[in-house]
Symmetry: C2
Subunit: 458 residues, 2 copies
Amino acid sequence: MDKEIMAYLSKNRKAHLNELFQFLSKESISALPDYKQKVQETAQWTAEALKNAGMENVKVYATEGHPVVYGDYLHAEGKPTVLVYGHYDVQPVDPLHLWQSPPFSPEIRSDKIFARGASDDKGQVFMHIKAVEAILKTMEELPVNMKFCIEGEEEIGSPNLPVFVKNNTDLLQADVIVISDTSMMEKGKPTICYGLRGLCGLQINVKGPKGDLHSGLFGGAVQNPITALVSILSSFHNENGEITVEGFYDKVESLTMDEKNAYEALDLKDDIFIKQTGVPSLFGEKGYSTLERMWVRPTLEINGINGGFQGEGIKTVIPSEASAKITCRLVPNQDPDEIISLLQAHIQKQIPVGVDVSIQLFDKGAPFVTPFDHPAIQAAGRSYEKVYHVPTSYTRGGGSVPIVAVFDQFLELPIVLMGFGLPDENFHAPNEHFHLENYDKGLQTICTYWYELAHTLS
Amino acid sequence: MDKEIMAYLSKNRKAHLNELFQFLSKESISALPDYKQKVQETAQWTAEALKNAGMENVKVYATEGHPVVYGDYLHAEGKPTVLVYGHYDVQPVDPLHLWQSPPFSPEIRSDKIFARGASDDKGQVFMHIKAVEAILKTMEELPVNMKFCIEGEEEIGSPNLPVFVKNNTDLLQADVIVISDTSMMEKGKPTICYGLRGLCGLQINVKGPKGDLHSGLFGGAVQNPITALVSILSSFHNENGEITVEGFYDKVESLTMDEKNAYEALDLKDDIFIKQTGVPSLFGEKGYSTLERMWVRPTLEINGINGGFQGEGIKTVIPSEASAKITCRLVPNQDPDEIISLLQAHIQKQIPVGVDVSIQLFDKGAPFVTPFDHPAIQAAGRSYEKVYHVPTSYTRGGGSVPIVAVFDQFLELPIVLMGFGLPDENFHAPNEHFHLENYDKGLQTICTYWYELAHTLS
């Protein structure tokens, strides 16, 4: 990266932080109807910030809910186009009394910025805006074409973004999507997450007698709905932790040797996860390492189960009904709809005599992976390394970010998750904060990345 | 039964019913501390009623809780001694607004007495007292020796009766125990229940991670406590509904041919139970009829299960813990302590990797059966038939009456459950009532029984 850019960032650091504090002081809580106007104002603020940085065609797009802010810069002829996605909305702040400083009065303590949204995601969105500003002010042009899509409903599950993306595929078309809304593995360890698992799930409702029965009077005569449910649920795994649903693993991609090596390089020992979770020992699908099981293997979890008497002591009932919620984490190339069908077929085969079973489906999301060796991924890795001076970690995430699946579905672009947060920065919790070290280095990394990309993808 | 006794009962019917209404108007709710004094007054009233009927050595015995009322008549030399057990306490009356007439203001509607305790158990205790009075007033002596043991804590699980019985085995010694606190099968169908199942149970607590985990981040790395619990619970039965706990059935007595015939004579078709319970079809241990499964075969039921997210929709957690409550109904000669040990051993063998399991034990009670062909049982059957003019039904009960197990354990006497209630008389619920038909016929049956017993057991 050019020294002039670095000098500009350094010289303007204080002014930039003041500006970020303005952004962070805006109470853009998307979940609470009373804050609708504040969310709207924050969208306007974001649009102004994009304009001031030098972005063009800046517009606040209304949706059925909170607006989407768009802006672009399309003067880098022959160069790739980057779509930057982020969000300007934040989580609610309850419980307020646990905050050491008010959530919307940002302050710096121990080299961290404390405020709601500091890391998730205003801080990271702001860095992208300031990177544009720094390059344009010093170099007069950007090395790539850029589009910003900053939404206001990420914290409530992006209910209106899919429609927006679907209706604006031309506007949003690009060569790569960059999202800075994830965390590095740990302090000083820059990380690129190049894949996420998908999700699908359902609730199983078992209905037996019309009302709870006395287990003395009727025990032995009827099927117990809990026993029936337990028998269905226990049929999903074998003792090796493998999922026994027919066809479940059929389309699962196997890991490349490069990826295996990348995970081994992370040097994440099982002890770390035992300590993090507090389990007596780890457990999972036989034949795979813990990281593989968390990132590249699908799972089937029972998230909740409920039936019969829940109080202290004993009540000798045969309950009228019982239910359980299950979700699967999916990996490329599993299709959520196909997996749901396989689960339903499996359940149908397992229904015991004497009960009725019904199924409710939950929302689903597809898994995504950008090939590990994709030039955009490797360029991102090099950019981190140039700034942090340590090797970049390549990971996949076990969780699901539904919006990533939306972009994957409608734009079919490589997606780079270039996060600068840290796992313990309390996003969604009191005392959310963001490390200034990653603010500074992150800004440099982003600027560096645009030049790397211009070089790599051209 | 002598015509003079019948005439006496007939002549004094109105006075007796007035007296019963006094008894029923006493608010002897044993569960509520505020009613302690009322319970005490009801014990005194019961003692007075016994004295007035002609019983001797009447005494109100204090216990750690509510008192026990005792009285005897021991002048029938060479004749058997009968111990009559009953209780003068009643269930709470909530929800009060569902009562058509106040619970402690007895009234007769459609030939039924409506009041809390009308059938459970003041009405039936009162009949025994008036049977004594009628015989003594007309015949001057009782055909058998009699002892009354009427307690005030049955509705709260008789916490102090075991100690009372254990400390007074000489006082309570007899040749047969008669309890009128159960129901006939249906109107016009006198019924003797000559056996009850026992009960033992435990709670299984499964503990995995120290807190709930995000199923995306950690799914695949750890054992899910619900999955572990479900795997333990599903191991208790096979697909034939048989319990697979090693040794569980070892001591179970098989049914005699006489008993099989008696059950067949009841002509209780499966359709009846399907209608009563509302299940799509009945289910249970292969190779046994529905009645056998309910009365003479042991069961293992999951009474409650709990773990993870319980709300609407989906929350993708791996819960920290899960638990289930299970109880077994036991039959002669299963020993509750032995069965608990077998269950614990079974569970230990089933614990999956990656979780800790703890067990909490619940109260237990032994099963009981008085041999079907015991003279006291057969004499009771004949007494019903002389009054009701239909064949007596012989049943066993699937439920457990802990106090019966206490008498069985400390006194080792044949027990006759001679009930006059009906299954739909709302005991424990609003609008409890008692049919006058069974009040009248029951009084005659009791008087008849004492003469039959004097003849049979002498």
